[in-house]
């Protein structure tokens, strides 16, 4: 079973074992504008995601006029 990443209410999958940075890059998401949270806990770039677990991807970027 792959790693499940919930992103904008969609379920995305990547094959573990891989780091947060690698997972975001595989999904084409910039690690400079996305964070990953596991059970409410913020993960760093090098934290490892393993097959079978579910994490949430948070987009840090928002729009709006100055």
């Amino acid at each position: 079973m792959p790693v499940i990443l919930i992103y904008r209410k969609q379920k995305l999958e990547v094959e573990g074992t891989l780091t947060v940075r690698e997972a975001l890059q595989q999904l084409g998401l910039s690690p400079e504008s996305h964070l990953i949270v596991r059970k409410g806990e913020l993960l760093n770039d090098n934290d490892v995601l393993r097959n079978g677990e579910e994490v949430k991807v948070i987009s840090a970027i928002s729009g709006g006029a100055l």
Binding site: E32, S33, V37, N44, D47, I58, S59, I61, G63
Partner: protein, 312 residues
């Protein structure tokens, strides 16, 4: 892969900031973030504990984080939320208002609310549609009404500083966009502090040196419940495209966004970039006959013109 450890206590880090060559744990990150905010407030002489600060809050991560930090630093800071009447699929404005109110209630803070539909008789998207402003998007009208209302209400409520949570990504994408179109009138106006002028409140941006990644990380670590959804009208905006592009560059060149902005401020400070004088000389401001706010039009201000009879 090596575990990233906090540079202060060697616990597991929750964030690594490559541009600062710094990694911090869940305890030291918020502490660092708050200290940095205070440093920026002092460096740019934004305000002191004697000032009354109105924080513009949207219910999103940046503005709630800003209010949280100012509260923790002990400043006299109240919140101001403008309900724009944007519904989308999920009553976006109402949900954002609820998030802001919940945040305020939990900390026993005062939130002032201005509902555009109640005050003006129609929502921001409806005003944009009626006045044919923007191309299927109310963003220009939204910006105009927000700036007008924030200035008016901050002064009416007796505050002397308006704090907004504009961050590094907002500022570099704005500067980048202005450079792409050589908007030479707008470029020199960008600054961490906009001084008070006759009729205009002092405006400050304490988060100007934090990336959105850093403000989001602060909100997550602090357990702040913010609205994650984007404004339904923001999708596909130029500003989001510039942010995406600049973040791709940041991946390859850590610190490039901060260097871009600080280099600009440095050039401004040294006088290499000068405000453009109008051909007629200094702009003369006079009070709008309808709302009393300063305007250079000589008649109704741009916001009041939206509600003129011939627009109805």
């Amino acid at each position: 892969m090596t575990t990233i450890r906090c540079h202060k206590c060697h616990q597991r880090a929750v964030i690594r900031m490559r541009q600062h060559r710094l990694a911090l744990c869940k305890d030291h990150y918020p502490q660092w973030f708050i200290e940095q905010t205070q440093r920026f407030i002092e460096k740019y002489q934004m305000f002191t504990p004697q000032d009354r600060i109105l924080v513009a809050v949207s219910g999103g991560k940046d503005s709630l984080a800003l209010w949280d930090v100012l509260w923790q630093l002990g400043y006299d800071a109240e919140g101001f939320y403008i309900n724009l009447g944007i519904d989308g699929e999920k009553l976006y404005s109402d949900q954002s208002e609820q998030a802001a109110q919940k945040f305020a209630d939990e900390r026993h803070l005062k939130l002032h609310i201005y509902r555009v539909e109640e005050q003006r008789g129609e929502s921001v998207p409806a005003i944009a549609l009626r006045t044919h402003r923007g191309r299927q998007k109310p963003c220009a009208v939204c910006g105009l009404i927000k700036r007008h209302t924030m200035n008016q209400m901050a002064r009416q409520l007796g505050f002397n500083v308006l704090a907004t949570a504009h961050n590094l990504d907002d500022e570099v994408s704005f500067l980048f966009g202005n450079l792409l179109s050589w908007n030479l009138r707008q470029i020199p106006r960008q600054s961490p502090v906009l001084e008070a002028e006759e009729g205009f409140i002092r405006k400050v941006k304490p988060f100007i040196r934090f990336s959105e990644r850093e403000t989001a990380a602060y909100s997550i670590v602090r357990g702040i419940e913010y609205i994650e959804d984007e404004c339904p009208f923001a999708e596909g905006s130029k500003q989001l495209q510039y942010k995406e592009l600049l973040n791709r560059l940041e991946e390859q060149q850590p610190g490039v966004k901060l260097r871009f902005l600080l280099g600009f401020f440095n050039a401004m400070q040294q006088g290499f970039i000068q405000p453009i004088e109008d051909e007629q000389g200094e702009v003369i401001l006079s009070p709008c006959p309808s709302c009393g706010q300063p305007t250079s039009t000589g008649g109704l201000c741009a916001t009041c013109r939206l509600f003129e009879e011939d627009h109805r």
